[in-house]
Symmetry: C2
Subunit: 200 residues, 2 copies
């Protein structure tokens, strides 16, 4: 709530304005739906604020998130709001001049993280969506301690949203805002498969 009152005022030497404008590390985790969709909703807010948006999809299939991709790319190209860059691991990342390896997703994920580090150092975006990035951390493809250290020390005002199940406790500890999405009821429980326009 814009007029929300904090529960207490910390003794961190910051003014309310400085505290208000602190860049956030946000984590959407848990087994329920909505982790990524909520992250893309935040990207809409960033676009509206004129903050350049960088999406890094750490997923194998290029079919995922096609609705969100088309929408955010269209918004980025609209001349209003902010530019949007959409990077997909499933197609071998846009900045790499060779097709993505079918064999080595771990190397692909590390290349994604290396680019994010470069972009953070250059303060390229105001909002980073690191979609499904908990998995490369969980599987040991990227080093959690390094991820946390780089994110903690990132310069300037760069918001970062990380999505995926099973967020590492060290990531949760470092984050400013963590939401767990819990499944209460899902159509697949009743034998329904995922459907176009809802699941992707």
């Amino acid at each position: 709530m814009p007029q929300g009152k904090p529960e207490y005022v910390p003794e961190d030497g910051l003014t309310t304005r400085q505290r208000r404008n602190r860049a956030l590390l946000i984590v959407h985790t848990g087994p329920g739906k909505g982790k990524s969709t909520a992250a893309f909703g935040l990207a809409l807010r960033a676009w509206n604020q004129g903050w350049p948006v960088g999406v890094f999809q750490f997923v194998k299939s290029a079919k995922w998130r096609i609705g969100e991709e088309r929408a955010l790319v269209a918004l980025g190209a609209s001349g209003e709001g902010a530019p949007v860059d959409w990077h997909k691991m499933g197609e071998g990342w846009s900045w790499i001049q060779r097709p993505g390896s079918e064999e080595d997703h771990a190397a692909d994920a590390r290349e994604g993280w290396e680019q994010i580090k470069r972009d953070l150092a250059a303060e390229k975006y105001g909002m980073y969506v690191l979609d499904e990035f908990t998995y490369p951390m969980k599987w040991g493809w990227v080093d959690v301690e390094e991820v946390v250290a780089v994110l903690r020390d990132r310069p300037g005002r760069q918001h970062v949203v990380i999505t995926g199940r099973d967020a590492d406790p060290r990531l949760v500890e470092a984050a400013d805002l963590v939401t767990e999405m819990t499944k209460v009821k899902h159509p697949m429980d009743q034998g329904q498969k995922g459907q176009r326009g809802i699941e992707w």
Copy 2:
């Protein structure tokens, strides 16, 4: 997951294709962040599929969701995807030719619900986002039994997403997909107020 396997196949006489294409009633509830942002993420998918999107914001302040509103209205006007209508209770609803009452939010909420009933009967949209609609139900401004009956009996293929805390158990029972967003950690706990581009 597009290729997700259901846990069992129900004996409902439907083909997999019919079951797959069943319109869903989706509820995002719980005290955590992301209920509405995830609903607007679903609206992006609907837009991409060419399903007309109707947003009904059951909130008092017209300042809320300005990022999502600007983005979805821009997408709706882009000539790609689907049209988008964005209705706000806080401004007295777009279809009503008088300013919204400062005094009677209950009447305003009921007028919103009456319009939704007309639109459902006319199969006007493929995706309805009823943002914060749990509150008029909770406060007794609209009748939960009627809402559930109308949604259960809605014609055609119209997806409906309802957001807000404290979803009524009857709504949860009627819904196909329910996700609870749980707060794990929030900046306001550390004395930080809501901020532009993140909270709205």
